[in-house]
Symmetry: C2
Subunit: 141 residues, 2 copies
């Protein structure tokens, strides 16, 4: 979070700094369960995940989304965030290395704010897209 | 997560079961920082949050979003989730009691899937909307 990104300083087509996460850890899934209150055992219990037809525990979809959100809050302060959404297209597993990328697709104004729109992706080490998203961020002039 | 919700059993206008969260705790923000890797001190350090012009520590926007996502994963399995997005309109603080609600706004089909679209809100105990969102969920026939 630098707070130094300005509307006049970014152009459509610009990429924002990418974010390569450390490998997903089971401990991280347990922390996320505690933080979010989502205690579905498919995220923390290997036996129950396999019993449910999964190859093993999977990351919470909302954790993947939170990680993609960090791409944004590493770039601008959280208060700049106006909207954020994503399509879920693959699951993430312990050991997966997720890379998040964003590119500016539009510059616009609404309600007196200078806004940029971004296209976002979160993909694993095999290039499978976990999430394909969009965001809207307000920037100082 | 029941897995028992069917496309034929829901109608436009139906509300899904609401989710009233326990009061936000500072411990929860610390757990979320660990899970997401977002270690911005405005979420865990009162002095630094006030130094940044905030009244105190605030919940991560992505935590609010994760909580709103639980409304969905309490209703259908995570694998049913196709898309999820929200606008950020207010901050959440320790002690806030967040209520999440969802209502079905459309039933449609795409790529051979039966889909329902929902309008979502997360609001605090004063009725301030933290998030206004939408989601798309695939359901069995």
């Amino acid at each position: 979070m630098s707070g130094s990104v300005r509307f006049s300083g970014v152009q459509v087509g610009d990429s924002i700094p990418e974010l390569v996460l450390p490998p997903i850890e089971r401990l991280q899934l347990a922390l996320f369960a505690g933080a979010s209150g989502d205690h579905n055992p498919i995220h923390v219990d290997e036996d129950k995940a396999r019993g449910g037809g999964l190859p093993g525990v999977i990351a919470h979809g909302m954790l993947n989304m939170a990680v993609l959100g960090r791409l944004l809050t590493n770039w601008v302060p959280q208060r700049a965030l106006r909207g954020f959404g994503a399509r879920f297209s693959a699951m993430a597993f312990p050991g997966d290395v997720v890379t998040c990328r964003g590119q500016i697709t539009n510059k616009t104004e609404a309600a007196g704010e200078k806004l940029v729109e971004l296209a976002l992706t979160a993909e694993n080490q095999k290039g499978d897209k976990l999430l394909v998203g969009t965001a809207t961020v307000a920037l100082p002039e």
